[in-house]
C-alpha cells in the first residue's frame, strides 16, 4: 500500500474537492467535513512518507501512468519535499479547522465552492512540491494561483482590485517560468528534472541555458514578492478574509522558495548555480534590500494584517539570501526557515483572525487591553511574536542562527547586519503591540466607533476568550513553534543534511 502513497496524497484531496463542490449544491454542512477529512488524510500520508524516506534514506519515485523517466511524469519524494509536504498539509488542515466560524460568516451560501477551492489550493501545492517534471509544475502553479485569486478576491470592498493586480503580476511570473522551461526544452529536448540535471552540466557555456536560469528565477521572484516586484503582496493579503490569508500567507511564498531551491539544486546542479554563475552576490544584495525594505515599511503600518504582510516580504529576503550564500550552513538555514516561517506566519495570521473576530477592527489601536480579556490568545500571540523576533526557545531563533552563521562563514557581513537589523525592527514592532494590548485599558464597546458587523462582546473586564474551536488550533500552532525550536537540531541532522547535495561545502 505504501507504494501508492505519492499518488494517494494528491488524488484523495482532488477527489474530495470534487465531492465537496458537488455536495455544496445539496446540503451546506457536508463540504466542510469532506474537506477536513481529505486534508487530514493527506497530512497522515505526508507523515508516513517522511518516516519512510528518513528511515530508508532513499527517495521514493512514482511513475505516473506507468511510463519511465523522461517519457512520462515522475513524482520524486526526497527528504526536502517530504518535510515541505508535511508542513503544507499540517498548515492547511489546522487553518481550515480553526476558521470554521469565519467560513460560516463570510461564505454563507457558497461553502461548496469555497471548500473545494481550499482543497484544490492545497492539492496544487502538494503536487508542486512532489513533482519531478518541469512542465507539470507550471500546470500545478496555475491551479494554485487561480484558486488563490478566487480565495482572495472575495474579501473587503477593495479586494477585487488588489486581486486583479495580484493576477497580473502572478500571470507574468508564471509565464516567465513557462518561458524558462521552454528555453530549457529548446536547449536540452527534455522536461524531466532528473534528466535535465544530467544534460545541463555537459553544456554549461550555452547562453540559452543561462537565459533559461535568469528568466526562471525572475518568474519565481515575481511569485515570491522579492523587492522590486513585491507590490501585490501587502494589498492582496490585507484585503482578503482571514480564512484566505490564514491559508495563503504561510504557504504560497514558502513553497515558491522551495521551488527555487528545487530548481537551483536539482535541475541546475549546484556546480552550475554557485560554481559556473557568479550572480549569487547580486541576489544576496537583492535579498538584503528586501529584508531592510520589508522591516522598515512594516514599522509604518497601522493595520495589523498589512504589517504582517510586510514581515512576510522580509522573511522571503531571509530565505533567498540564506540560500544564495552558497554554503551548507546558509542553505540548511534557508530550508529550516521555510518550515519555521510557515509555522510562525500561520500562528500570527490565526491570531489576527481571532482579534478581528473579537474586536471587529483591524488597526493596532483595537488591541487595547486584550491581555486582560483574552489571556490565552495573547499568550499564543506573544509566543509567535517572540519567534519572529528570534528569541531562543522558539524556532525563529534557530533558523536565524543558521542563517547568521552561514553569513559569517561566507564572509557576507552586510547580510548578517541586515538580519540583525531586521530582528531589532521586529522586536520594536511586536513589543509595541504587546504594550498596547497590555497597558492600555480595554475600550468599551460603545466607544469603538462604527465597526461593520463586529462581534464585540464588550462589557466588563471579565475574561471573554475566543470561541474554543478557534482557540485550540491556534494554541496548537503556537506550541509547535516551541516544539520545532527544540527539535530543530534533529530536523537539520537527519532531514535537511541529506536534502543538500554533497557538492556543496
Amino acid at each position: 500500500m505504501t507504494r501508492h502513497l505519492p499518488a494517494l496524497i494528491i488524488v484523495i484531496p482532488l477527489l474530495a474537492a470534487l465531492f465537496t463542490a458537488g455536495s455544496g449544491w445539496i446540503n451546506s454542512k457536508a463540504p466542510f467535513r469532506i474537506a477536513v477529512a481529505a486534508l487530514f488524510f493527506s497530512f497522515v500520508c505526508a507523515v508516513l512518507m517522511l518516516i519512510q524516506v528518513v528511515t530508508t534514506g532513499i527517495a521514493m519515485e512514482y511513475r505516473m501512468a506507468g511510463w519511465a523517466g523522461p517519457m512520462g511524469i515522475v513524482y520524486v519524494i526526497d527528504h526536502l519535499s517530504a518535510i515541505v509536504l508535511v508542513v503544507i498539509t499540517a498548515v492547511s488542515t489546522l487553518n481550515l479547522v480553526a476558521q470554521k466560524k469565519n467560513i460560516d460568516a463570510e461564505f454563507n451560501d457558497k461553502e461548496g465552492a469555497f471548500n473545494a477551492l481550499y482543497v484544490l489550493f492545497t492539492a496544487g501545492l502538494i503536487g508542486m512540491t512532489a513533482t519531478g517534471d518541469a512542465f507539470n509544475l507550471y500546470v500545478l502553479l496555475e491551479i494554485v494561483s487561480l484558486s488563490g485569486y478566487a480565495l482572495i478576491g472575495l474579501g473587503s470592498r477593495r479586494a477585487p482590485l488588489a486581486t486583479l493586480n495580484y493576477l497580473f503580476l502572478g500571470t507574468i511570473g508564471a509565464t516567465f517560468y513557462l518561458l524558462g522551461v521552454g528555453y530549457l526544452y529548446i536547449a536540452t529536448g527534455t522536461l524531466n528534472m532528473a534528466e535535465l540535471a544530467t544534460i545541463i552540466p555537459q553544456n554549461m557555456e550555452s547562453g540559452v541555458i543561462l537565459f533559461a536560469f535568469i528568466i526562471c528565477l525572475t518568474g519565481l521572484f515575481v511569485k515570491m514578492a522579492m523587492f522590486p516586484v513585491h507590490g501585490w503582496l501587502p494589498e492582496a493579503y490585507s484585503q482578503a478574509t482571514s480564512v484566505s490569508t490564514g491559508l495563503i500567507a504561510p504557504l504560497t511564498t514558502k513553497v515558491t522558495v522551495y521551488i527555487m531551491i528545487r530548481i537551483c539544486m536539482t535541475v541546475f546542479t549546484p556546480e552550475y548555480t554557485f560554481g559556473h554563475l557568479d550572480i549569487s552576490g547580486f541576489i544576496v544584495l537583492l535579498a538584503i534590500v528586501t529584508i531592510v525594505f520589508g522591516s522598515l515599511s512594516a514599522l509604518a503600518q497601522t493595520n495589523v494584517k498589512r504589517m504582517l504582510s510586510y514581515i512576510i516580504i522580509a522573511e522571503v529576503g531571509y530565505m533567498v539570501g540564506g540560500f544564495f550564500l552558497g554554503n551548507r550552513l546558509g542553505i540548511s538555514g534557508a530550508i529550516l526557515h521555510i518550515i519555521n516561517d510557515a509555522a510562525m506566519t500561520l500562528a500570527l495570521f490565526l491570531a489576527a483572525g481571532i482579534f478581528i473576530w473579537k474586536t471587529g477592527g483591524e488597526s493596532r489601536s483595537d488591541l487595547k487591553g486584550l491581555f486582560a480579556k483574552m489571556p490565552f490568545t495573547m499568550a499564543g500571540f506573544v509566543l509567535a511574536g517572540l519567534s519572529v523576533v528570534g528569541v531562543p526557545p522558539t524556532c525563529g531563533f534557530f533558523s536565524k542562527w543558521y542563517l547568521i552563521s552561514g553569513g559569517i562563514q561566507a564572509g557576507n557581513t552586510l547580510f548578517v547586519a541586515a538580519l540583525i537589523f531586521s530582528s531589532l525592527v521586529n522586536a520594536v514592532l511586536f513589543f509595541r503591540l504587546f504594550e498596547i494590548a497590555y497597558f492600555e485599558p480595554f475600550a468599551d464597546a460603545d466607544s469603538h466607533g462604527s465597526n461593520h458587523g463586529s462581534h464585540t462582546h464588550g462589557g466588563a473586564l471579565a475574561i471573554k476568550e475566543a470561541p474554543l474551536d478557534m482557540l485550540i488550533p491556534f494554541l496548537i500552532a503556537s506550541i509547535t513553534l516551541i516544539v520545532l525550536g527544540l527539535y530543530s537540531g534533529t530536523i537539520v541532522t537527519n532531514i535537511i543534511q541529506f536534502a543538500i547535495p554533497t557538492g556543496v561545502i
Binding site: F135, V139, E142, L146, Y149, A150, G153, R157, R158, P160, L161, T163, L164, L167, F168, T171, I172, T175, L178, L179, G182, Y185, I186, L191
Partner: protein
C-alpha cells in the same frame, strides 16, 4: 550566385522569423499590461502575452519537410478486424521520425491555451466586480476614489 545567397538570406530571415515575432508579441503584451490605464486593456494585453509563448513553443517543434503528427496508417477495414496484432505488425515497419513533426510542444501548448482562457475568465470576473464597486475600470479614477477615501 546572386539568387542562391538571396535564397540563403531569406532562409535565415525565415528561420529566425518565428522567434522574432514571438518576442515582438511578448513585448506588445507586456507593454499593454504595464503601461495601459484601462483594466480591460490590461486583460487583453495579458491574453496576447500568454499566446506569444505558444508561438515560441510550437516553432521549437517544427521540422523542415515533416507532416502533421498523425501517423499515416492506411487502416483498411480488415486491419481493424484483425485488432491489435495487425496494428502492432503494422507499427513494426520503422516509422521514419523525420516524416513527423515533434508532438510534445503541441501537447504542452494545449495546456497553455486552456490555462490562458481560465485566467482570462477569472480576470474578467474580477474586472466586473471592480466596475460594480467603483463604477469605472480606469486605473487612475479608481486610485482617485481610494485616495479620497
Amino acid at each position: 550566385m546572386r539568387d542562391s545567397d538571396m535564397e540563403s538570406i531569406f532562409a535565415l530571415v525565415l528561420a529566425k522569423a518565428n522567434y522574432v515575432v514571438y518576442i515582438i508579441l511578448m513585448m506588445v503584451g507586456l507593454y499593454a499590461m504595464i503601461v495601459k490605464n484601462n483594466l480591460i486593456k490590461k486583460i487583453v494585453g495579458m491574453s496576447i502575452f500568454q499566446t506569444a509563448i505558444i508561438l515560441f513553443y510550437v516553432s521549437i517543434g517544427c521540422k523542415r519537410g515533416a507532416t502533421i503528427p498523425i501517423l499515416v496508417h492506411h487502416a483498411s477495414p480488415e486491419a481493424a478486424a484483425h485488432g491489435a496484432e495487425k496494428i502492432a505488425a503494422h507499427a513494426m515497419e520503422a516509422v521514419d521520425v523525420a516524416h513527423y513533426i515533434n508532438p510534445l510542444p503541441h501537447v504542452l501548448m494545449l495546456t497553455a491555451i486552456v490555462v490562458g482562457v481560465a485566467t482570462l475568465g477569472v480576470a474578467l470576473a474580477l474586472a466586473i466586480k471592480v466596475y460594480n464597486t467603483y463604477g469605472t475600470v480606469e486605473e487612475d479614477e479608481i486610485n482617485q476614489q481610494l485616495r479620497s477615501g
